[in-house]
Symmetry: C2
Subunit: 362 residues, 2 copies
Amino acid sequence: MAVTLADVAARAGVSSATVSRVLNGNYPVAAGTRERVRRAVEELDYVVNGQARALAAATSDLVGVLVNDVADPFFGLLASALQGEISAAPGSPDSGKLAVVCNTGGSPEAELTYLTLLERQRAAGVVLTGGAVEDPAHTAAVAARLARLAASGTRVVLCGRPPLALPGDAPAPASLTFDDRGGARRLTEHLLSLGHRRIGYVTGPPGRSTTRHRLEGHRAALEAHGLGPGTADGAAAEELIVRGGYDRASGYDAALELLRRDGTVTAVAAANDTVALGVCAALRDLGLDVPGDVSVAGFDDLPFGIDASPALTTVRVPLHEAGVRAGRLVLGRVDLPPGGVATVPTELMVRASTAPPRDTRR
Amino acid sequence: MAVTLADVAARAGVSSATVSRVLNGNYPVAAGTRERVRRAVEELDYVVNGQARALAAATSDLVGVLVNDVADPFFGLLASALQGEISAAPGSPDSGKLAVVCNTGGSPEAELTYLTLLERQRAAGVVLTGGAVEDPAHTAAVAARLARLAASGTRVVLCGRPPLALPGDAPAPASLTFDDRGGARRLTEHLLSLGHRRIGYVTGPPGRSTTRHRLEGHRAALEAHGLGPGTADGAAAEELIVRGGYDRASGYDAALELLRRDGTVTAVAAANDTVALGVCAALRDLGLDVPGDVSVAGFDDLPFGIDASPALTTVRVPLHEAGVRAGRLVLGRVDLPPGGVATVPTELMVRASTAPPRDTRR
DNA sequence: CTGTTAGCGCGTTCAT
DNA sequence: ATGAACGCGCTAACAG
């Protein structure tokens, strides 16, 4: 059926081992022989069998990239940078690696399934991106899978999720964590410094590390401004935390719920930009002006935020840079400082959707 | 190192052949034996070696999905639906297939490289999505690769690009084409029916099938309304076609260029939604109102269009449905009508960014 | 420098 | 119903 090494060898009048050597170029071969083999390969349209090669050499050129949602630009941007870094490196020994983007849809089961599939394929590396599901049982299951992968030589990198200890004596995987907490804190501080006191917060989906970190940042800012859980205002602020998801619809619903709980809210911080746009849409439908009546802020700084009405104040997460770094890490081209954890900084981006509350203006 | 079939066999006190049989479940095995093998697998945390299995059985569970840009929601949505369809099918024989999203970045070379990589891996299927590069040499190169893939049993599906004839006696691959031309035509007809006559058009990147089809639809609408290439107005309309790309920046630049060519433009149709938002941004910066001074329309109906200011009039491309269909096709779960081509309809979505031109209003 | 010889881990005959 | 043996296509020692 398909043409094999042996076919090429026969055509070139050499042994299959020699063909293998010229193909991999990591062994001395006479120039003349090499040329003959090259021609035979051309003439026969030979393409190596990756499976056989992987089996014989015990190496693979597959790198798995797990994302929670490919349709979400957050992951699209990350995956794009990662894949670019992995597939690039022309001429380098890493060249020819296949970055495999696997879409878990945020489902813990799918995450485990993909990890198994990648283990089956003896992947060269695996990158887990985005917030982790914080269920102890699931975390343990993931850790167990990762430990096995690591033990069999697969490089594991965590990107955008907390460091994870592996069972047994396995060293913890390299991890690139985003400063979600710091970003969220600076964002809420921005709202506070504008004069807002009744600030609503729409969280991400429950049980996710990013959801928790961002909410913690929000609370930290409140507490630092004397709105801690002990105070009356702090208790009121807790009432203004609404559970959501990472989609636009939950932002829309959350905004309605928020105004039902307290019609005097003057600002809303959302778990991400998409949710923030849902919040804006709801406010608009209610006849409220942003930021005139209510300020709204997002998180991530995805490209569409700048074209929203009004342009969204948000926290920039350097997804491209993070993707590139994660790509280098999983290829083993760079290493992390001892401890294996690096934090990617986030940056407050003030735009038009936030302003001082109405009553403090002239 | 890793635990193998033989290890499991030894543990269960049977031959490796028997273990293989219970694992694949396609052969009668005594219930008791099966149970013992199952336990051994559990205890040893055995995971089959995909490479070895593929080599022995001459089948793979990899399905490649080539996209032009993962960071673009257009492809994200498509890939998400495709992957969902491929990885779903719980219990079915297709279950356990690994959908591999490969990001070509729109580069012809990368496209060929990925095709080679997938051929190396003896992929079970390949889906090429998005507009095709219309360079004869490249088209021939792709066709040659696809013919080889098809010959070795890989299922090939085209999604969102024109049908392609393969060299030799190979049957043409199944293809799902989008009605880009019809959609673009209806969109421009919409603008014409609102009373616009000076309509600008910002194209997609040069040499792409989608760019050409959408532009053709635009021109067809003009011609049907007596603004054909022969007429004076038609010639003027040709002057209002500006070359762009699929990114926001080229929309921004194109809008400036358009107004420089003719300050009386009252409407602009863009190659896609992202470009349309760039056009809106430029108009806004110029102090022009959308749609008061200039109407703007996009294409694709990506989620962010509804939150733009104003909500974008566009043409909906049913990406989710298309992805699902493509997924079923590549798995061979459904077939296309004779000829192997199906057209996915597109739909005009009128929203707030288009309105009658100023001078025809009260 | 090059050919020969073993496996890599599994599916699949062919026997039993 | 189960085991023994062979081969998938390739790389990696080991000779020469």
